[in-house]
């Protein structure tokens, strides 16, 4: 029994190890699956939102920059148109003769500048490129312009607006010149514009922290001073080929070495002016432009992270809970399997026992009848001598006794092996036990043992198998009587009690016998285990009792003290579900 148990134990341990591994596998699988099923869609949605929002905001940003460029272009073009119109008016409305007079020129200069001092000087230049008249802060009367680039350009076009240049005065400026034909003579009205007036128009446009608006000429030279980077007349870091078409928006990497500004990505919107060919540029740090976008993206990222963490936590918790449930169920199943295994083991032992009992019973019956025949014949015989006859009768008595002993063994074996269907009925335990005790009282008395009953009156009836219960009582009481061997007298106390706390009935059978030593105590329910002298017990009584009580859904336990006695404590639950079970549960 214990050897079998040991093997079972090892098997169980191995099984558990395997299970634990498969549980952790299952755990990992489950969490991975949940994460894939929930996190992947979230990431996809997040990515989608991010992409959509980025595209949307880029489009909006481009539109915004285009509008800015357009607006500033209008401002510049309007400014230039107004100044050109001013000069054209003066040139058309006054004949050369009038303008030649320095006083007249001064008066007109005053009128032109009376509201805003846009004009720096005003001059009338003859066909030969020499001043006919001049009003301004510099002494330019004897300058010859015939070889200058603007003079040549003007003769071809009629109206000319120059790029910024340093000219004779070494200050950045630009000029507007109008060609006029009066009769056969051609003359030119030329004005210098304050650079500041144009610069201030753009410098005052503020776009965020890093935004600036400025003008470039075709060679990429600053025509106005940008608010932050560069100065007028300096070469800008831009590759002018980039600005193709009339207008557009570009992203470009800004190199710190060339600009002295931190390396950054810039958004550059531009538009070409028609006359002169200047490039209006609106520029801003991309980081600043996209600040709002990246803030939104950050919010999305935080939201996604929180969702993922929440899913992770929930899936870990639910998975753990599920695995635990599965584990519990598996354990229950395993327990059941173990019990079934034990039960089937016991059942096959029982079958074997039944077979043996049956095979032995038949020859025993023959021997018994033979013995009886001999006895019959001997009774009638008269020719035996006395001594022989006495010996014969003694032997025959002994044969009967031994047959009786054998048949007790086989009957116990059969009882152990039989698996009768429990017949569940409402049983009054007190009444049922009273009958049994009446039966056994006589045997007890011959051993000097008194059976005392302490039945709790009004004990509730219990759904169980009366016959099997009687069997158990009989076994325990018989055991108690046998425990008084060698004692002249003793008591067996049978007590019944309604245990309300555990909702069942407790039966306590106490004897004052020799007691069971502790080393035997945990084996007394094993089949074939007996401490009685050879021939006195089969070792099956308590094992049968154990099986019966287990099959009735109850519990049986034993307390014993050597020299003082033994207590069998049986507990039967009320409304026992065990009644009707066919398989006796194995002792463990």
């Amino acid at each position: 029994m214990s050897e079998l148990d040991g093997a079972g134990g090892n098997l169980h341990l191995d099984g558990q190890a395997v299970h634990r591994k498969s549980y952790s596998d299952l755990y990992v699988k489950f969490i991975t699956l949940t994460l894939i099923c929930s996190v992947v869609p979230i990431l996809l949605v997040g990515y989608g939102i991010y992409r959509y929002y980025s595209e949307f905001s880029t489009a909006r940003m481009e539109e915004y920059f285009q509008r800015k460029v357009e607006y500033n272009q209008n401002v510049i073009e309007l400014f230039l148109k107004e100044r050109t119109a001013d000069l054209t008016l003066v040139a058309l409305s006054h004949p050369l003769e009038y303008l030649k007079e320095p006083a007249n020129l001064k008066r007109l200069f005053g009128i032109l500048n009376h509201k805003d001092p846009y004009f720096d000087d005003l001059g009338v230049i003859g066909e030969n490129g020499k001043h006919l008249a001049y009003h301004g802060p510099f002494d330019l009367m004897d300058k010859d312009y015939s070889e200058t680039f603007w003079f040549k350009g003007l003769l071809a076009k009629g109206v000319y607006i120059s790029d910024m240049f340093m000219g004779y005065r070494k200050i950045p400026h630009f000029i507007i010149a109008i060609l006029r034909s009066e009769g056969g003579t051609k003359w030119i009205l030329r004005a210098t514009i304050f650079t500041e007036s144009l610069s201030s128009l753009l410098q005052n446009v503020k776009i965020g922290r890093s935004g600036e608006v400025f003008l470039l000429n075709e060679q990429g030279i600053y025509q106005t001073s940008p608010r932050l980077s560069g100065k007028i007349m300096m070469q800008s870091p831009f590759d002018m080929k980039m600005f193709s078409g009339d207008s557009g928006v570009r992203m470009l990497e800004y190199d710190s070495e060339e600009t002295g500004l931190p390396r950054s990505r810039q958004v550059v919107a531009y538009s070409w002016l028609k006359e002169p060919r200047w490039l209006l540029v609106v520029k801003q740090d991309q980081a600043e432009v996209l600040e709002e976008v990246s803030r939104a993206n950050r919010a999305i990222m935080i939201f996604l992270s929180i969702s993922i963490i929440a899913i992770l936590i929930v899936s870990v918790i639910t998975t753990r809970h599920m695995i635990k449930t599965i584990q519990k169920r598996d354990e229950g199943e395993e327990r059941l399997n173990k019990q079934l295994l034990q039960a089937s083991k016991l059942a096959s032992i029982g079958e074997l026992a039944a077979g043996v009992a049956h095979e032995i019973n038949n020859p025993l019956a023959v021997i018994l009848t033979e013995n009886q025949l001999v006895r019959d014949v001997a009774d009638e015989a008269t020719s035996f001598d006395g001594e022989f006859k006495q010996q014969l009768y003694e032997s025959m008595d002994q044969i009967d006794a031994q047959i009786h002993r054998c048949s007790r063994i086989t009957q116990n074996l059969l009882r152990f092996s039989r698996r009768i269907k429990s017949k569940a009925e409402m049983v009054d335990i007190n009444a049922c036990f009273t009958e049994v005790i009446e039966l056994i009282q006589k045997r007890a008395q011959t051993s000097g043992v008194q059976i005392v009953t302490e039945f709790e009156p009004g004990l509730p009836s219990i759904l169980t198998d009366a016959f099997q219960l009687e069997q158990v009582l009989l076994n325990c009481v018989t055991n108690g009587i046998d425990a008084h061997d060698g004692k002249p007298f003793g008591t067996i106390r049978v007590k019944t009690r309604h245990d309300e706390k555990r909702n069942g009935i407790e039966i306590r059978i106490s004897d004052t016998g020799s007691g069971i030593p502790p080393e035997h105590l945990d084996r007394i329910f094993d089949p074939f285990y007996t401490t009685k002298p050879v021939g006195k017990g089969t070792g099956l009584g308590l094992s049968i009792s154990y099986s019966i009580i287990k099959s009735l859904g109850g519990e049986i336990s034993v307390n014993s003290e050597v020299g003082k006695g033994t207590d069998f404590i049986i507990f039967l639950p009320l409304g026992s579900q065990g009644a009707g079970r066919e398989e006796p549960a194995p002792p463990s």
């Binding site: 038949n362 009848t369 048949s407 039989r418 269907k421």
Partner: protein, 135 residues
Amino acid sequence: MQKARILLVDDEEAFANNLSKLLSRRGYAVAVVHDGQSAVRAVDEEEFDVVILDLRMPGMDGIETLKILKRRKPLVEVIILTGEGSIETGLDGMQYGAFDYTLKPIQLDELQEKIGQAHQRKLIHEAALDTGKDA
């Protein structure tokens, strides 16, 4: 009271013959057969009060034999005497009308007592049947 007429059905010849001798010595009229078919035939041919029947036999087994016997002669009382201890088959036997169920080996006194009781019951049944007929 007249001693019962007994039919002993057991495939274990030594046992059957011994028991037959013992019972004959005690004044019973005993016939012995060793299988179910013979038992049925014997009951058809002769009148018996009590049948002592083994359960495990080659050919027709005890329960089957019991069923047929009880159908043919409902008043005959059957005592099952077997080495096979399954109470389940015992209860089966009782259900099919056996008078008692007892396990080998059995002391002769005990068996005689059971035979007496079975015979008694048969007589009572017969008497009841007779008065029923008369009435």
